[in-house]
Symmetry: C2
Subunit: 406 residues, 2 copies
């Protein structure tokens, strides 16, 4: 059995080294983003592929920042299918994150974040979320018997709110955009000593480590694709996937990191704007976004350094940032459902919408191996469900049945 690898935290701004035991989630000196560092040589072929008796996120225990297995809170997240989707394009694959316990990829960061919070002695955890992350965290909090406090934007659809409430979290709808919820949770955690499990790098350095397991899984199934498309709010999933592939590269398991494509909604695209302008820093988005992709409509007001970190990883992978409009995302929802039997929410289908666009523009070439991360289920997406017309009612009569089939 492999030994647990020693970890510490390093500030990505001022370079300070911080002990995890200190309980800090951001740099105590400069408020910068903390990154988990593992001792050298941590990852190797043995750790990545040999645990046939384990599966999912915790298969990679040695590469995750939790010291003791006793602290793990798991719903058997991860190990999601990588589905070949020829109807969408030759060489196209969907990494189907709708198959996680609560229906979105957020179960990956949350299983790691909550386990670490328990290791650090948390009694109350808190999160700002557009819906999926809180629906996930509240399930893990129920299992762990922790109090869970949630802030969501006031326009969060009931279909997402109710999943959060089912698991017993305390939920408030907060006036304003997602950023208002984010800043309220940050302020309240500081004031009341709650652990902040909002899944962006400025709020919590551990959760992005859960995100990186998606890269390990893609590697194990497909080795090394040319492109990986990822929906972006602030972008911790992209940062995590970048980090996972970087570790694989450093261990000599892959030659180069796949080119990462970050996808945003046209109505709220601060990272894409900075990418296309050639800016080094991402600036907050102005105004209140209106889009079918509310899961990724994050203006980054007050924590735009999360966007800047994401932009940096896109560029380091020689990648692309692209935006798509509501119509293109809804079209992609139907393509996934009716071509592949996969029901995604619009924000999750944004990766297919962007692949379609970049193929047309010649950025993605014929023959490229393309992985589209589909981040969340459509079962919680009111905007999709509302587009379907009611089914007709008939008597139990074959003649009537055959008529409605036309």
């Amino acid at each position: 059995m492999s030994q647990k690898i020693a970890i510490n935290l390093m500030c990505t701004s001022c370079g300070s080294e911080i002990l995890p035991e200190s309980g800090n989630y951001s740099c105590p000196k400069c408020k910068g983003i903390l990154q988990v560092r593992y001792s050298r040589g941590a990852i190797n072929k043995e750790l990545i592929s040999s645990h046939s008796s384990r599966s999912g996120v915790w298969k990679y225990f040695e590469m995750l920042p939790v010291e003791s297995r006793e602290n793990i809170v798991s719903l058997e997240e991860g190990n999601t299918p990588l589905i070949r989707t020829e109807s969408l394009g030759a060489g196209y694959y969907v990494k189907d994150e709708t198959r996680n316990p609560t229906g979105s990829f957020k179960d990956r960061p949350n299983t790691v974040g909550i386990s670490k919070a328990i290791e650090l002695g948390a009694k109350t955890i808190a999160i700002a979320s557009s819906g999926n992350a809180a629906g996930s965290l509240s399930a893990y909090a129920a299992k762990a018997k922790l109090q869970c406090i949630v802030c969501v934007p006031e326009d969060t659809p009931d279909s997402k709110l109710k999943q959060i409430m089912v698991f017993g979290a305390k939920v408030a709808k907060v006036k304003g955009t997602y950023s208002d919820s984010f800043n309220l949770i940050r302020e309240s955690c500081k004031r009341y000593g709650w652990h902040n499990l909002t899944s962006v790098c400025t709020a919590n350095p551990y959760q992005v480590e859960g995100d990186k397991t998606a890269a390990y899984e893609i590697y194990e199934r497909l080795n090394n694709p040319d492109w990986v498309l990822i929906p972006l709010g602030a972008g911790p999933l992209l940062v995590g996937i970048y980090r996972g592939f970087l570790e694989l590269q450093e261990a000599g398991l892959i030659e180069k990191i796949p080119r990462l494509i970050g996808v945003q909604a046209e109505e709220c695209a601060p990272i894409v704007r900075a990418f296309k302008n050639g800016d080094r820093n991402v600036l907050p988005w102005e105004g209140k976004p209106h889009t079918v992709a509310h899961s990724i409509a994050d203006p980054l007001t007050g924590y735009s350094e999360d966007g800047t970190l994401t932009l940096e990883k896109i560029r380091e992978s020689n990648g692309v940032a692209e935006s798509v409009n509501d119509e293109e995302m809804m079209e992609a929802v139907w393509q996934l459902a009716r071509g592949e039997g996969i029901f995604a929410e619009p924000a999750a289908a944004s990766t297919l919408a962007a692949a379609n666009k970049l193929k047309k523009n010649g950025i993605i070439s014929n023959g490229d191996k393309v992985v589209m991360v589909v981040t969340g289920t459509g079962l919680k997406s009111q905007v999709v469900l509302d587009q379907l017309r009611p089914a007709p009612a008939i008597d139990p009569d074959p003649d009537q049945l055959v008529k409605i089939m036309k």
Copy 2:
């Protein structure tokens, strides 16, 4: 690599042997239930545990009635978690079937049923369903590019209807109970040559073979539990799980078959009634059932022999049939959500409700290993979602946030 095992069909009523190639889904001589038979010695330790590179239902390809891998239509169903649930009882486990691609166990029978239908040349498939089975089949039909025709009872909640429609199936709401939908599809398939993929044994002999893979998975994770609790409409899942364990016993892998507990809703419990009366045959349930467990509210009018087959397997396993009321099921929904972070629909939580009852009655003893099959997600359950009160709205102010937490 193991060779494919030869199969044929045998009528459980008159004993006739039928070739699968004939395309019959029930006995052409006596209309009896057909059962798939494999050549002797089909199952063995090698087939059951050695395919570490495969997972899910099709890991057991050699034990399934599809001849050619080319005909397989899969969304990577099965391989669902078996979760230890100490908060519900010592030695208790949930077999979490909500983790299948469309959120219910129905993906197991449908992946087998549709693959076989394709092998038999189907162009149009049809199903009667209370919601979950059709939500599943329509996804597989989309992937396979087959026309899919669905009949559901008129009171099927929108939350289930819409999943079916997302995938593009043609849906009709049929006046009357589930049995009216069932009989309409049976009659229409006969008249128009559609393949009947309604997942009960009288309608289709192949799908129950998909159900049996749940038994293989329980065996692989837990060896041999004392009890397995299973929600019952007509009961093909129980018949399949019985068959899976029987095969394991015949192969010498387990000594005895676990005792199977079939669970129905008090408002519609034809199998439980017959079990408690000591009857050999199940009779149809009278009247229109009203229960929160609409997924299993099946009066069996016109095909009660499906219920009789299920009852027979319960008795052969030295098992029990028990009913639970709406209140007990709703209580179990909250226990699963708030104790374990698992969101089940009431029909799926019926197994926990029954375990609670049978523990109190002394049927389940302390120290018994108990598996509760949780068959479908609560995300599609209007009746649960409607019980949650709206979340309060606040300004982005920590004082307001901390107040609503009390």
